[in-house]
């Protein structure tokens, strides 16, 4: 039994989402973009990293569909794409909640069954 079947999600997409999120610099970039779009120069500023190094991270994020490029041809601002993140989180929450939820309902059911058994026994 798995919870994820409740919601079909492309495994390939999730793979690349997780790979992209595995790096602290890329997570920091996403956190920065959560505050609004930013150019490569702006994104590179807080990091002790060359612009090409940052561009490499941006490419990974872009391939994972986590960010996209804005219209402004000169600045090429990057912006956050919410959907893959939401899918990844949804999957996590679904899985945990699914079995926890199942077993909590089972706890309640077992309490009922125990009570029934007790009643049945005391009648005899």
């Amino acid at each position: 039994m798995q919870p994820t079947g409740y919601r079909r999600t492309s495994l390939d997409r999730l793979d690349s989402t997780f790979a992209a999120l595995a790096d602290p610099t890329r997570r920091a970039i996403l956190a920065r973009l959560a505050a609004g779009e930013a150019s490569v120069t702006e994104l590179a500023a807080p990091f002790d990293m060359s612009q090409p190094a940052i561009s490499k991270h941006l490419k990974v994020l872009e391939r994972a569909g986590l960010i996209s490029r804005g219209r402004d041809a000169q600045r090429r601002p990057r912006r956050l794409e919410g959907r893959p993140l939401a899918e990844a989180t949804g999957w996590l929450e679904n899985y945990r909640r699914f079995w926890e939820g199942n077993f909590e309902r089972l706890d309640a059911l077992l309490d009922e069954l125990k009570a029934e058994k007790k009643r049945g026994r005391s009648k005899r």
Binding site: A34, A86, T89, Y95, L113
Partner: protein
């Protein structure tokens, strides 16, 4: 008494996932709840608007089961399999294949019910056909290496800046 044991989920070997949970009830009741349709319908995968309207169980070695959940807007999720070992109230082995599986092959589930002092420890081992299949399920993030990413992700999402509700169809 609720939550006598917290749910534990671990990866084991190359292609298994093991789940352990303690229930405050004798194992014959836990086994019943695990195998009787009228009881399964009350706990397994039924939350929100999901119900389990089709729950057929032929509980014998070689017998099949077929379960179909139904959710909002007619959404359905089905699973089927065959019982390989049926030893009430201590052991149940069955194959499992979802109609729309997101991992290759079917899995083999072994449920072991151990009773001690009126409580039952349920251990469910799910064995996938390959490491790739197991890892695909593991990546549906229960535990392990991506946990940190998830924590960060949760923070990001909690900031409220990221909206997950845009419904753009993907190819």
């Amino acid at each position: 008494m609720k939550n006598t044991g917290n749910l534990k989920v671990t990866a084991s070997g190359d292609r298994e996932i093991v789940m352990t949970r303690v229930f405050d009830a004798p194992r014959n009741l836990v086994f019943d709840a695990y195998t009787k349709p009228e009881l399964l319908k009350r706990w397994l995968g039924v939350f929100g608007r999901w119900s389990l309207p089709i729950c057929e169980v032929d509980l014998r070695v070689g017998g099949t089961y077929r379960w179909v959940w139904r959710g909002a807007d007619g959404a359905e999720m089905g699973v089927r399999g065959v019982y390989r070992e049926v030893v009430p109230p201590e052991r149940l082995v069955n194959t499992e294949k979802f109609d729309e599986a997101w991992y290759p092959g079917e899995s083999l589930n072994t449920a072991v019910f151990v009773e001690q002092g009126g409580k039952t420890t349920l251990t469910v081992t799910t064995r996938y056909e390959s490491r790739e299949a197991r890892d695909a399920v593991l990546k549906s993030p229960m535990e392990g290496g991506v946990a940190q990413s998830y924590d960060k992700l949760a923070e990001l999402l909690a900031s409220g800046e990221i909206r997950g509700t845009e419904r753009r169809e993907r190819p």
